[in-house]
Amino acid sequence: MTDDTTSEFASDITRRLEAIMMILDEPHSLVSLAAAVGAPVPAVRQAIESLVADYDGMTGGPKRGFELREVGGGWRLYVREEFDDLVSDFVGTQAPSRLSQAALETLAVIAYKQPVTRGQVAAIRAVNVDSVVRTLLSRGLITEVFTDPDTGAIHYGTTDALLVNLGINSLDELPHISPLLDDGADGFAGESIR
């Protein structure tokens, strides 16, 4: 901190961010937040970092009952995990129906192989996946990315909502699976698998 003005400016951004966070109902990216508070992205990134530490009780204050989380490519306020049961009891939320094993496997294949057609997914899972794909679409976990102009085959990919539902920030945070999967649906050719 070079002087008082700098730190006052930083603190001002932080307070503005807190105000905006109050009304967000989905994660917003750094760029979008920077536009909202009228500050450059690096300053906003710094302000977010300071808020995260602040709410986590790392800066001398208490550990708050809420936290700032980065999910699905953006930032958003959440109830801190240890109070989830308390809040669930209060609001009386019902657990949404869980996905079947078939749906989970299909979702995994689409997540790692996107953009991918239903036919390619079916080939990997060795079963028809039409109804499972429909379920995933209506849950907003996957979406149609594009349609091949020649074959008319729809290519599917995952949505930001999936990232939010998984509690991760980008596809890079998916667990690493065997490198043999990296070379795509059509090519194990020649490669000897060890």
């Binding site: 966070m21 809040v87 657990a95 869980r98 039409d130 074959t151 539902n165 509690g167 698998i193």
Partner: protein
């Protein structure tokens, strides 16, 4: 092909040990004893030669396992087995073929095919394993609470006024569009297949032929048939009829003449209606 009518000793052994420690399918073979999953792991790591594994024994054990669990059992496990069994069979075919030096293109292609099969098996397992992570993460996030509160009236006023251009007719047209059933577009493959042959129809032919002559060999049963599909359907219907104890067969030596004999005590055409229902999908 000579399926033995009485249960093999391997089947009985599997009935005893069909439930593994985790309740999953367990196999007992000469070369291996343990959960099915581990068998796959060992094969994919090539610590167990696929040619050593008798697929028919594994299949027998699995059928016994499924029977012991009863009809309400998890279809998932059964279908999973089919995927894996098909892969095992493929691997086994590749494994049984002679492996020479890498001299000709054919051998190279063979090795590639074998690796492709390993890759497919590994790939399927990788996705199956990682799907557990998806399940756990989705459940965990379900319990999290993000802040979502209605916008206060004073901020709502800041929202620019809605520009509405639709007439009631436009709106109705939009509704029609939205209600139109959304079939996921499908590229038909029907034109790529030969005409379908019904196992039931062919079974009816087989029943008629056998009942009128009492005993026939398979060669006679397919005399004059030139479509491979019909030959296959007749053979499958013979297997199905055998399952219904409607006929018996004899084969003195492997690949030798197959003699079929009509043995049904009670047979009505109603039996035909449900015959081969397994092939309906």
């Amino acid at each position: 092909m000579a399926p033995s009518p009485e249960p093999s000793s391997a089947t009985e052994a599997a009935l005893d040990s069909s439930a593994g420690a985790d309740g999953g399918f367990r196999v007992t073979l000469d070369v291996f004893d343990g959960p099915f999953d581990l068998l796959l792991t060992l094969i994919t790591k090539r610590e167990l030669d696929i040619t050593e594994v008798s697929l028919s024994e594994v299949t027998n054990e699995f059928i016994a396992h499924v029977r012991a669990l009863g009809p309400e059992h998890d279809l998932d496990e059964s279908s999973q087995f089919l995927v894996v069994a098909a892969t095992l069979l493929d691997m086994k075919v590749a494994g049984l073929l002679p492996q020479g030096e890498l001299v000709d293109a054919e051998s190279v292609a063979l090795l590639e095919a074998r690796d492709l099969l390993f890759a497919r098996l590994l790939q399927y397992r990788a996705f199956k394993e990682v799907s557990a992570w998806f399940g756990r993460s989705l459940v965990r996030e379900d319990t999290r609470h993000a802040r979502t509160v209605r916008l206060d009236a004073k901020y709502r006023d800041a929202v620019p006024e809605l520009v509405w251009t639709l007439s009631p007719q436009d709106f109705a047209a939009l509704a029609m569009l939205a209600f139109a059933p959304k079939e996921i577009p499908h590229v038909g493959l029907d034109h790529l297949h030969a005409p379908l042959v019904s196992i039931r129809e062919q079974a009816a032919v087989v029943v008629t032929m056998l009942r009128s002559s009492g005993s026939l060999n398979f060669r006679e049963l397919i005399a004059g048939v030139d479509q491979p599909g019909i030959v296959v359907a007749r053979f499958l219907s013979v297997l199905e009829l055998y399952r219904h104890a409607a006929l018996s067969f004899e084969q003195v030596e492997p690949l030798g003449e197959l003699t079929l004999r009509w043995t049904a005590e009670r047979w009505s055409d109603e039996n035909l209606a449900t015959l081969g229902a397994d092939y309906d999908r």
